[in-house]
């Protein structure tokens, strides 16, 4: 099958980029003809490894000096006319990308086109020919978009062949918005790529958390909750992995709460698997998530998890009391209580961890690949009948 994935910038770092590259890699490894089209190119090589069987193409190459490309530079400085200003990455797009994307979409003839963010999904709906199977991916969730953007989605997504969400809860929102459209709606979560995931040290005394140090990830809430844990269990430690602009304020919070012997901002790591394996439990304290992939990664080590039941992802991933504990979002007291329950009950840690390791097998990349293949095949057959 000829599969084309259109992404804003395959050369950056981020959750969507990593996920899309994982997808193209697994599709290319199973004999599909896969092309990864990056709207922008800012570096010579992608930051995540791309399978050599994936063909790469760039629409707007931003490398090289400006004086050598005066027309390109002039277009780059003009704001986009096609991307809604309420799109989170509106400022990244411009008149040059408008031109290049539309030209690319109009050039297509058949095959499957997967687009990976609202701006690109909208442009695919508007400009890709009818004989292309057009699939729009949602990597956050519908309610995370501004009302003006949701209105654009309601207007244009009915022209897509499929919209794919990461969670059933989000898919329900899309179903309500796109009621009556012929667009196929599907939930396909992110897949867990094969990796060496050593079993976690459940009899240790380390609590692990990981994510960018931003307000979204709620590490301020976690540190406050952990302060109450330490008051009762002074031999436990908290390790938070990741970098980000909240580093200074989180460090000041740790100092102010006198947690400098107990809570550590570990910085970014290239071996998260090794660090997760040192934990006796994992905590997700996010205010919101697109999906919460790191929960699945933690559970694959057999780590019991405590997670805020925030939108979106944790409730899909964790079954409360069976393979982890869910607590009301942003409820610091409940987070403290759940951590204390796991600290006080080693056998519960083992039971939840064992169940977690088994339950996240449903996210194995092979199964996720099959879900994508099934969807593409059905859409193809439907398109052939219609054509």
């Amino acid at each position: 099958m000829k599969l084309r994935y259109l992404i804003m910038n395959a050369y950056g770092v981020g959750g969507t980029i990593r996920t899309v590259i994982n997808q193209v890699n697994v599709m290319a490894a199973t004999d599909h003809d896969v092309e990864l089209i990056s709207v922008f190119q800012t570096r010579d090589r992608p930051r995540f490894p791309v399978d050599p069987r994936v063909r790469m193409r760039t629409l707007a190459d931003l490398r090289g000096p400006r004086w050598r490309h005066p027309a390109r530079h002039w277009l780059r400085r003009r704001p986009s006319l096609l991307v809604p200003p309420t799109e989170v990455r509106y400022a990244t797009f411009n008149r040059l990308s408008d031109q290049k994307i539309v030209r690319f979409l109009r050039s297509l003839d058949g095959g499957v086109l997967v687009t990976t963010r609202p701006a690109l999904n909208l442009l695919s709906a508007r400009y890709a020919p009818e004989n292309v199977v057009r699939v729009g991916q949602e990597h956050m969730y519908l309610r995370s978009h501004k009302p003006e953007l949701v209105a654009e989605i309601a207007r244009w997504y009915p022209r897509l062949d499929a919209v794919v969400s990461l969670t059933d809860a989000d898919l329900g929102e899309y179903a309500a918005l796109l009621d009556g459209a012929r667009t196929r709606l599907a939930t396909i979560p992110n897949g867990l790529t094969p990796a060496d995931r050593p079993p976690a040290a459940l009899d240790g005394r380390i609590i692990v958390a990981a994510g960018r140090l931003t307000r979204q990830k709620g590490f301020d809430l976690l540190i406050k909750a952990f302060a109450e844990v330490v008051a009762e269990h002074p031999d436990w430690r908290l390790r938070i992995y990741g970098d980000g602009r909240e580093h200074g304020s989180l460090r000041r919070l740790i100092h102010r709460l006198h947690l400098y012997n107990h809570a550590f901002l570990m910085g970014g790591t290239t071996s998260l698997e090794q660090e997760l394996a040192k934990g006796a439990m994992f905590v997700l304290s996010s205010r919101y998530e697109g999906f919460g992939m790191v929960l699945i990664e933690a559970m694959a080590h057999g780590l019991p998890v405590v997670s805020f039941d925030c939108p979106h992802g944790p409730a899909d991933i964790v079954t409360h009391g069976r393979d982890g504990l869910l607590v009301p979002p942003e409820d610091v007291g409940a987070l403290t209580a759940a951590m204390k329950v796991l600290i006080g009950d080693p056998s519960l840690r083992h039971a939840l961890g064992e169940a977690a390791r088994t339950s996240v097998r449903r996210y194995d990349m092979d199964g996720i690949r099959l879900a994508w293949e099934r969807l593409f095949t059905e859409l193809h057959a439907g398109a052939a009948r219609a054509g």
């Binding site: 100092h255 400098y260 012997n261 550590f264 570990m266 910085g267």
Partner: protein
């Protein structure tokens, strides 16, 4: 890392004091219970300038606390200006070789960035001075004192 050192486990810079707790690693015979040892703060630029306070040793455990005033008054009385580094050692009775304080027996390699401590400020006639424990790139425990400019 030396074969013998004082392994730091907790540092508590609060309430105007710095409390250090840990255990002695690799020392020959353990001193008798309740032994009084000495914690020293050696000025890195002036090796002759050494501040000290008593430390208790019990088995292989040690504990010592000093007021930040100890450092503040030393800096103020000698009219030392600018940033000063002080290296911490533990001297056991009857042992001529002081043990460097450090933290080497865990898996955290970048302590200077990961294990950080708040500064405390002491007042001196010449102005306020802040005192902050920190781990060096060699994972040893030192202090930084510096004048606080209003």
């Amino acid at each position: 890392m030396t074969s013998r050192h004082a392994e730091v486990e907790q540092v508590w810079p609060r309430d105007g004091r710095v409390l250090v707790m840990g255990r002695i690693v690799g020392a020959a015979p353990a001193p008798p219970p309740g032994t009084t040892a000495i914690l020293t703060l050696t000025n890195r630029d002036r090796p002759g300038l050494v501040l000290s306070c008593p430390a208790t040793v019990d088995g292989d455990r040690f504990e010592a606390a000093f007021p930040v005033e100890l450092v503040v008054s030393a800096v103020a009385s000698r009219r030392i200006d600018g940033r000063q580094v002080w290296d911490l050692h533990l001297t056991l009775p009857g042992d001529p070789e002081p043990l460097r304080l450090g933290r080497h027996l865990d898996d955290i390699s970048d302590k200077k960035k990961v294990m950080t401590f708040p500064a405390q400020t002491g007042e001196a006639p010449t102005g306020a001075v802040s005192v902050k424990p920190y781990y060096t790139v060699m994972q040893n425990l030192s202090l930084i004192s510096r004048p606080v400019h209003a």
